[in-house]
Amino acid sequence: MAASLNGHSNGSGHGNGSASSAGAGTADIVARAQALFDDLSFTAARAWKDAGPDRKVVGYMPIYVPREVIHAAGFLPLGILGGGDQLEVIHGDAYYQSYICRIPRSTIELGVSGRLDFVDGMLFPSICDVIRNLSGMWKTMFPNVYVRYFDVPQNYRDDIGGNYYVNELSELMHDLGTLRGRPITDEELRASIAVYNENRRLVRALYDFRAERPWQVPAAEAYLILRAGLVLPVEEHTALIREYLAAAGAEERPKRDNCRVVVTGLFCEQPPLNLIKSLELAGCYVVDDDLLLVTRWLTEDVPLEGNPLQNLALAFLHHSESTAAKYEPNLKEKGQHLVRAVKRSGAEGVIFASPSFCDPALLDRPMLQHVLKDAGIPYIAFKYAENSGQMQPIREQAGTFADSIKLWSGT
């Protein structure tokens, strides 16, 4: 099955930047990723679906779903992340009060305006009450779509949370098998795990490379390359990252006197691309972040031998990212992932950028800040919305932060 996802870059409607074209420069590669990012009609995913009679597309929202299971069915997993700053929200506001974040209303807009009419299934992960309730709204508004609220355990014992999660995964696997008309086999799932292992390795390589030489990998480029992975078939995305890494490694770009920061809080509603660019323009190299966590949620390769569902479950329990939606059972460990990210990436400070009205990010923030304070790591904080237009205040704040870090490290 996995093989059938291969080799359809032409069908994506973006023939120019085909993953196999050798020696493309970063500009071409990034342009292809930017085109995918800008396309609010999901032309590439539609084209992928049209290329075969049995093809189906399953959408998912942040923060994490096991895309391997969707892939194993031969379907295209499609990341849905709201509408960004280019989508005009006409209907969405009628579904949400002013004090609820932006991403659900622009996601509803995508649905109501027909932009997702080719999507056969939608997964709403366990991240917060807003996306949880959106799962029920989707069921009510789009009764012909397969909709599942995808729960994950908050108990990390193999025999408790692990068992529960294996059963949840096998329900999902069963449902998607039904959608395809033929059960998904363990062999298919193993093959998909292998494909995603490779993709995650490349994503980690991209992050490592950027942490090492951030002037070679501007934050906005890293984001676009990563984001392409939410619409492209995974095999194409892996090739895209590989190609980008080769191109970025070959190009010398001027190194600026920027400070190095980790940005956190961006795990759900997306910041405008301009915001990411502004940070760098203001003097901050982004050396780590929590954007698009689904692309590297599992921090180690998932073993291929043995029961694949069990393997996915154990990876979730013991080798996955930390974030606000996940319970940290150990008080001493709370927030340490951020300290480790700072150390690993050689960052000098942390920027908390959180969506307005985001309870998970904003309630977690003071606890993370206390941990940073104890570790002597400086930070600043601000809020954004996916359609924030005014970057001046953020640029000023980030600029002052960068200056103070440089001053501080100079003394």
């Binding site: 579904y95 709204m137 009510t140 108990n155 408790i160 329900e171 309870d359 309630l363």
Partner: protein, 437 residues
């Protein structure tokens, strides 16, 4: 979110206090005294949440149950929550997040004084019953940071597909058996006795029967109760620290007798200004109330002869009217099913169906939503709920906005205007209906 008001806030100018009111007042006062004297008596305290409140289990370990949501409500009713919320914002909490959390955090920062004027004890454990609201996890992580005490996670899966699966129950039972119980044994020094749990559960079911009977009296015309403003008092003992006690059985027995007597006399609900006048509108209400201006809000209803005949908020600590009872024959499974079934753990389609059914069964004129700024669990999706319920029942719906305990978000004039237009709309529909007939 959530409940429980001491009858202190349910004054009765010309009203003779009913036995149930006196009883509840005594129960709450004694409970707060037990809590605030814990350091002298050596009693151990566990904090937990109203949805997913495992009171029977907590009692098995001789632990005292402290409910921060209830403390936030008390602060709201006493008009202290505004200052607490500001205090929390001053120490770094965002203006955007749930004010229950901020009221609690601010109260702690200002000395943690309970409704009886004495300091509330530090908890010996936080039982993070993670049911129906994602904010609960952050709330108790924040408290854990402060108190550095044992924190016990009990994760309740969400009923996203509108059903409780065996996998969900098994997961919860295992957590209760292998995580919650051993930890509570260790903290309390009391060994778990399943027969003791069964006894408490038996008592719970008895009180639950009477509560359901009371709630269902609202099917009568006129309704002898208000199932939202009044209902908030009625659910106090069973949602709080009394489920499974003799006290709760007595309270609900008194209450049931009182409601039956009112029914027999053809009386409407008791309000803070005495008996309500003629019943003119029958409403179903979705969403929590505002506590900082609770009486003012209620008055806007009873002054117009509007009575709430059913509400969803009074189901956040258990949906007993749809049949659930604690079952002593399967003690751990029943606790799991209880958590799984609470209102805020139900999918949006389930909520729509429940509200639409209430409108039919209680012969209501329509649905009113009080949308709470703080509460994503309740509020996200309410505008769709409103439209769907209108569509299914053909009855008009209305939408007002306020907050639970942040007085900055209560705009009396706005709410009153909306309610007045809503009542007019109901009148017009009725006139239209008569004309068409």
């Amino acid at each position: 979110m959530t409940t429980i008001v001491t009858p202190k806030a349910a004054p009765a100018k010309e009203v003779v206090k009913d036995d149930s009111m006196v009883k509840q007042k005594e129960m709450m006062a004694a409970h707060y005294d037990r809590l605030t004297s814990a350091s002298e008596t050596g009693a151990k305290v566990v904090s937990t949440f109203v949805p997913g409140n495992l009171n029977e289990l907590i009692m098995c370990f001789d632990l005292l149950n402290n409910l921060p949501e209830v403390n936030a409500i008390q602060s709201g009713l006493r008009r202290q929550s505004g200052a607490y919320v500001l205090e929390a914002e001053k120490i770094g909490h965002s203006e955007d997040v749930c004010t229950y959390v901020k009221s609690d955090v601010g109260m702690m920062a200002k000395g943690n004084i309970g409704p009886n004027g004495k300091k509330l004890p530090n908890p010996d454990a936080l039982l993070l019953s993670y049911t129906g609201c994602f904010t609960f996890m952050k709330w108790f992580e924040l408290l854990r940071e402060q108190y550095k005490c044992e924190t016990i996670m009990l994760h309740t899966p969400y009923m996203g597909d509108g059903k409780i699966t065996p996998n969900m129950v098994e997961y919860m039972v295992k957590q209760i058996k292998e995580e919650v119980i051993p930890k509570l044994e260790r903290i309390s020094g009391v060994k778990f006795d399943i027969d003791r749990l069964r006894e408490y559960l038996k008592k719970s079911a008895k009180a639950e029967d009477d509560l359901v009977h009371v709630l269902k009296t609202a099917k009568n015309k006129p309704s002898p109760i208000d199932a939202y403003f009044g209902g908030i008092y009625y659910i106090g003992p069973i949602f709080g620290a009394f489920r499974g006690t003799e006290d709760a059985i007595d309270y609900y027995r008194f209450l049931r007798a009182e409601c039956e007597a009112r029914l027999a006399e053809g009386k409407g609900p008791v309000t803070p200004d005495g008996d309500m006048g003629k019943e003119r509108y029958r409403l179903v209400v979705e969403g929590p109330p505002n506590y900082t201006n609770f009486r003012q809000f209620w008055k806007m209803f009873y002054d117009e002869g509007a009575v709430v005949v059913a509400s969803s908020y009074t189901k956040v600590g258990g949906v007993y009217d749809l049949g659930f009872r604690h079952d002593p024959d399967k003690p751990l499974e029943t606790l799991a099913e209880y958590c799984l079934g609470v209102y805020t753990n139900r999918s949006l389609p389930m909520r729509i169906e429940m509200l639409a059914n209430y409108i039919d069964e209680y012969q209501a004129d329509g649905l009113l939503i009080n949308s709470i700024k703080s509460c994503n669990s309740f509020s996200a999706g309410q505008l769709l709920i409103m439209r769907e319920v209108e569509k299914r029942t053909g009855k008009p719906a209305a939408f007002v906005e306020s907050d639970l305990v942040d007085p900055r978000y209560f705009s009396a004039a706005n709410i009153k205007n909306r309610l007045e237009s809503y009542f007019q709309m109901i009148e017009q529909r009725r006139a239209g209906g008569r004309a068409a007939a």
